[in-house]
């Protein structure tokens, strides 16, 4: 006897409109493949089509981003499995921009080179869009099943992309490592998900974090740790970071760029959403669980940052150095995510803004650094930094630009990295003693990191050019001298200065950070089928946030005079559960 068949809900038009960026990517993949078939003789066509898709994706993101006229509104669609809020949409905008920049960079790198055969170009473009689709879903995921599917959608194309240069042994090795570690990570994560489902009876993220309300049970904690392990893989955070340098080295430079920015960004956004939901709930149980989460995530980030920096110190190849640097950078962002885990600190919006700001800066500086590292190492025929001695005399513009990106990664004022780190540090600094410890970790790491960020510059600028260097250079110079790659770098440099000098960057990003997560609906029971789209009324929203955090209010929130206690944020559990 079968029970009553539950009614099937067809997606509404609103829902379809809200997932437009994902639809654009999907359609783009099909068009790329079909275009490749149609234009057989011209292998460049699919690449151009992919670029068009990225631009169309940006437009689609823009439409969904601004469509809910009132900022601060989160839309939960498809039975609350996806959250389409300005926070996720802003990341998707960055994602599309990354695809576009990576494809332009790719044009500068592979044209006329033999190691990526033209017959592979459509595959390359299609896989890139596929991975981006997964990341885009990941940024909106609010349900463990979606997390799993999105993560696999993002990972599987990445595995292939890592080994796309079929004739390179390093590429095959990288791909193999990537697959193996990815499989392990997925396995652990799925196991963690099953535990979490057992602990909470739901796959919804908010129900799962809500389950901690009655105290953290061991099964919940173990499940959460395994889930984070899966995230750590995508974030390339310690302890699942070691695929990162190998894959970055084996994969083409552009794929490495893509993975280092987009994959990490999606995972940071997902982590932030999850911890933020947790923080919104943890207010109702005295903050002990929040403290545990804060410590857990904080240590996770601190270890990742420290480990990445320490190992980066020992690298001699520029690409491995950049890989470890990207591990460390992810660590910084994770440390700021930790701030979201304490409810009632009332700074969730500030933290979200800081993370988005850092992601933006990180996109510019990392894409820029990778692009130039690719050009210079292609021209010098080696990725060893010592082989780039005296390059300032040969390619002054490129070396200066690379210097700007490296110093921005380090965090020199007037460059984006500094302001980004400043915002992260402010967010951490609000957390009391643990926060101060995190700030100290961040700053000490910054100090370490100078040593290896200066290393390429040391070789390129301070060291004299070796004798006969000119001949070596021309022999190894298979890269084009086309301005395409340089154009990407200049755009990125403009971005680094734009964010670093704050020419409106913060005020642009702030509204998106102020609208994150915190979509509180009762989901432990069956959600009413009629509610497919949850929009808070304004009163509920203002109940959720301290007054100064409403969109448009200043980021520098004025703290009221309550001695050594956190400002009494007005996050009341009752208003949380029943808006």
């Amino acid at each position: 006897m079968l029970g009553a068949i539950p009614p099937v809900d067809l997606p509404t038009w609103t829902e379809l409109r809200l997932v437009m960026p994902e639809l654009v990517l999907t359609v783009g993949m099909v068009i790329v493949l079909m275009g490749a078939m149609a234009a057989r003789g011209r292998p460049g066509v699919p690449i151009v089509l992919a670029m068009v898709t990225a631009i169309a994706g940006m437009v689609a993101v823009g439409l969904t981003m601004f469509e809910p006229a009132e900022a601060g509104i989160e839309r939960l669609i498809f039975h609350q499995t996806l959250a389409i809020d300005p926070f996720s949409q802003f990341f998707k905008l960055l994602l599309m921009l990354t695809i576009l920049l990576v494809l332009i960079q790719w044009m500068g790198l592979h044209r006329g080179q033999d190691d990526l055969e033209p017959s592979d170009w459509p595959d390359y473009a299609c896989l890139l869009l596929g991975a981006a689709l997964g990341m885009s879903l990941l940024a909106s995921a609010r349900d463990l099943l979606v997390v799993l599917i999105a993560m696999e959608t993002a990972s599987l194309p990445s595995y292939v992309l890592a080994g796309i240069r079929k004739r390179r042994r390093l590429g095959a090795e990288a791909s193999m490592k990537f697959v193996l570690i990815g499989a392990v990570a997925t396995g652990l994560m799925v196991y963690g998900m099953s535990l979490l489902y057992g602990a909470s009876g739901s796959l919804k993220l908010d129900a799962i974090v809500g389950a901690a309300n009655d105290g953290i049970t061991p099964i919940w904690a173990v499940g959460m740790i395994f889930l984070f392990t899966g995230f750590a893989f995508k974030l390339s955070a310690v302890p699942l970071h070691f695929w990162c340098p190998d894959v970055f080295e084996g994969a083409p430079f552009d794929v490495a760029t893509f993975l280092s920015v987009a994959s990490k960004g999606a995972a940071v956004v997902l982590l932030a959403r999850m911890v933020d939901l947790f923080g919104a709930y943890s207010g109702s149980h005295g903050g002990e669980a929040g403290m545990a989460m804060l410590l857990g995530v904080g240590i996770f980030g601190a270890v990742t940052a420290t480990w990445g920096n320490l190992v980066a110190l020992r690298q001699t190849r520029i690409r491995r150095m950049l890989a470890y640097s990207s591990i460390a950078q992810a660590g910084y962002m994770i440390m700021a995510v930790a701030a979201l885990s304490v409810a009632g600190s009332g700074h969730s919006a500030e933290a979200m803004t800081a993370i988005l700001f850092y992601l933006t800066v990180y996109l510019f500086m990392n894409v820029g650094a990778f692009t130039l590292a690719a050009r210079i190492s292609a021209a010098s025929g080696s990725e060893e930094m010592s082989s780039m001695a005296g390059w300032i005399h040969r390619r002054p513009l490129e070396v200066v630009l690379l210097g700007i990106f490296l110093l921005s990664l380090f965090g020199l004022p007037t460059l984006g990295g500094f302001l980004g780190k400043w915002y992260l540090a402010v967010v951490m600094g609000r957390l009391g003693e643990i926060g101060i410890a995190l700030v100290v970790v961040l700053l000490v790491n910054t100090l370490f990191s100078l040593a290896f960020y200066l290393k390429p510059l040391y070789h390129m600028v301070l060291q004299p050019m070796p004798q006969g260097g000119e001949a070596v250079a021309s022999a190894g110079s298979r890269s084009d001298h086309s301005p395409i790659g340089l154009g990407v770098a200049i755009v990125c440099a403009a971005g680094v200065f734009w964010t670093g000098l704050d020419l409106g960057a913060t005020s642009l990003i702030r509204p998106f950070g102020h609208t994150a997560g915190r979509g509180m609906v009762e989901t432990r029971g069956d959600p009413p089928a009629a509610v497919q789209q949850t929009i808070f009324d304004k009163d509920a929203e203002s109940n959720l946030r301290p007054s100064s955090q409403r969109p448009g209010a200043s980021l520098s929130r004025t703290v009221e005079f309550t001695g050594d206690h956190a400002p009494s944020g007005s996050l009341k559990p009752s208003s949380v559960i029943n808006p």
């Binding site: 020199l412 007037t414 600094g429 100090l447 301070l462 704050d502 004025t558």
Partner: protein, 622 residues
């Protein structure tokens, strides 16, 4: 005029970019030359237009910059920065003349040199702490490359050491800034980075001279003494104090406010309006350190004032054990370390000998003449004004560091056989006087410390140049392989005498004024009302030890002079090129400056005296 000031900061950077685009090294050089000449002229115009009777910054610009965190682009010049600006632009021109014969990538050299000038001017002219930090940091980058590319054999090591040391200091400063960012809104209502209360917005009249200090509310927030309940009760004469404290200590804010209001209403009923005012005034007395002038805490009474943000913050904080005071102590030390590294002071000085020895001559001149002064300037501009009470509490330690630096630097200088290293260690010793003079917080101490910075800027730049002149000819700096130079270069020997004796502190030359004033200021600290009044013996020990430094200085300078200039000339001297007119010009200008400053020190004091008197008074000393 404020436009001119901003233009002066960025003109060198623009010139630096143009230098890169110049067709050749010679063009870049003449471009850099004219840029520095114009910069110097502009700084002299500032001197001419400066109103010496007014305290507080002049020619101010304030434009919102990073509005999310209230950072402003705020620049201006006041008595504390004006002489240093002139020193910077003057030394920049002389340093440029000294680098006339740079052969290695001259375009890049002059470009970096000009960027460095922008960074230095920005540090001295920024009135916003965040902006200050930005300039403080970005001035490191050109310096790193200037030492790292054009330096001596161990240049890479020296450059990275310089960068890492200073950066470690910057990170300490960054922690302080984060702390300030997080806590100042609680007193002021918003984040404030303004290092100097604006003169335009201050209507307090001329007597208080608060315009040379940070916002008074911020400063009071970091007021030192913990709340002393016993003294409060004693002063109040009953248990009312305890009731108020209990009310303040309630965790819930609204409950607490209600309870405080109830207590005050009770007191108002008992004592009347005037009596309550008196009662609260006694509170302010009760929380002061002995022997210091009372800070003017607001004691107006009434319901409205209870809600006054600052007043409540301070009361609550005091009642709960002085959280801000703990922060102030940490912040004092962290910012002090940041600037002691830059100054440098023992034990953070080890980067200096390396950097100086490896840097090319003009860069050594700039490094010793200007960059070290950033440390002393920042101590006077930031550390002391923000955290005066912490400075008073820890003054013994800081003064001790100063004395240690004087003696240790002098002994190290005495032991050197490398001429340039000797001069470098003499800088450590001389900067010890700056630390000591600032630490004692007396008017003559501060004026002396400041004059010492200016005087050392002239004399150390001159010494490094003199060493450089000989090094260019001998290609070594070994004191044991020199001797009898005076016979070969009589005029050079004469100017050398001026330069080295100025550093030695010979009366009539610029080094003397600073040292003697610091010594006098140190002994002043023992006078009643000053911070050393309770520990006269120690103050005398500091003074006596610092005075010994003068003797040690004379020792190493005279001994060095004897080894280099006296005795029989060496054979190889005949091959040395004669000293050019350009070189004579540089040492002549510096030598004349040393003499003029030594005879007419009022040139500097006219800018600083009123400023320092006002600053010290509003810090509660002097």
């Amino acid at each position: 005029m404020s436009l001119l000031l901003n233009f002066m900061i960025f003109l060198p950077a623009i010139g630096g970019l143009l230098c890169l685009a110049a067709p050749g090294g010679r063009q870049a050089r003449s471009l850099a030359f004219w840029v520095t000449v114009v910069t110097l002229a502009m700084s002299l115009m500032l001197v001419a237009a400066f109103d010496y009777s007014a305290a507080g910054p002049q020619f101010e610009t304030a434009v919102p910059w990073i509005s999310a965190i209230n950072v402003e682009y705020r620049t201006g010049v006041d008595g504390l920065s004006l002489s240093l600006v002139v020193l910077t632009t003057g030394l920049a021109l002389l340093g440029l003349l000294a680098s006339w014969n740079i052969e290695k990538s001259p375009k890049v050299y002059f470009s970096l040199y000009l960027f460095l000038l922008t960074g230095m001017l920005g540090v001295f002219l920024a009135l916003d702490l965040f902006l200050f930090y930005v300039f403080f940091e970005i001035s490191l980058v050109p310096m790193y490359f200037l030492i790292g590319i054009w330096g001596g054999p161990r240049r890479e090591y020296a450059a990275i050491k310089f960068f890492l040391f200073t950066l470690a200091g910057s990170i300490c400063l960054l922690i302080v800034m984060l702390g300030l960012y997080l806590v100042t809104p609680q007193a002021v209502g918003k984040n404030t980075w303004v290092m100097v209360a604006s003169s335009t917005s201050s209507d307090r009249g001329s007597e208080a001279v608060p315009a040379t200090l940070v916002d008074e509310r911020v400063r009071r927030m970091f007021a030192g003494p913990r709340f002393d309940l016993e003294r409060w009760n004693e002063a109040a004469g009953d248990e009312s104090g305890r009731e108020l404290i209990d009310a303040l200590r309630l965790d819930d804010r609204s409950e607490s406010t209600e309870a405080v209001k109830a207590v005050l209403a009770e007191q108002l009923r008992l004592r009347g309006e005037a009596g309550l005012g008196q009662w609260l005034a006694e509170f302010t007395q009760a929380v002061l350190i002995e022997g210091r002038k009372p800070l003017a805490l607001p004691v107006e009474v009434g319901e409205a004032n209870l809600d006054d943000r600052y007043w409540s913050v301070l009361l609550v904080d005091q009642a709960r054990g002085g959280r801000y005071w703990v922060f102030a102590q940490w912040a004092f030390w962290l910012s002090l370390i940041a600037f002691l590294i830059k100054l440098p002071s023992v034990p953070f000085h080890t980067w200096l000998p390396d950097a100086h020895v490896e840097a090319p001559t003009p860069i050594s001149m700039i490094l010793a003449g200007v960059l070290l002064k950033m440390g002393g300037y920042a101590m006077m501009r930031i550390t002391w004004p923000y955290f005066p009470d912490a400075a008073i509490v820890f003054w013994h330690l800081v003064a001790g560091l100063g004395v240690l630096a004087i003696l240790y630097g002098a002994f190290c200088a005495m032991a050197q056989t490398d001429w340039k290293k000797l001069v470098a260690y003499s800088s450590v010793s001389h900067m010890g006087y700056v630390t000591l003079g600032i630490a004692v917080m007396t008017a003559s101490g501060w004026n002396g410390a400041y004059f010492q910075m200016i005087g050392h800027g002239v004399s150390s730049a001159m010494m490094f140049f003199l060493v450089g002149v000989i090094y260019e000819r001998s290609h070594h700096r070994d004191l044991d392989r020199l001797g009898g130079l005076w016979t070969r270069f009589p005029a050079f020997g004469g100017w050398s005498m001026v330069g080295f004796f100025a550093a030695m502190g010979l009366p009539g030359l610029c080094g003397f004024i600073g040292e003697i004033l610091v010594l006098l200021g140190t002994f002043d600290a023992a006078s009643p009302g000053a911070i050393g009044a309770g520990s006269v013996g120690l103050v005398y020990v500091y003074g006596a030890l610092a005075a010994c430094g003068v003797i040690l200085t004379a020792g190493y300078i005279l001994w060095m002079f004897q080894r280099v200039y006296m005795g029989r000339p060496r054979e190889e001297y005949h091959d040395y090129a004669p000293i050019s007119r350009r070189e004579y010009l540089i040492m002549g200008v510096l030598g004349v400056a040393a003499i003029v400053l030594g005879i007419v020190p009022m040139l500097v004091f006219v800018m600083t005296r009123a400023t320092f008197a006002g600053m010290l008074a509003s810090m509660g000393v002097g």
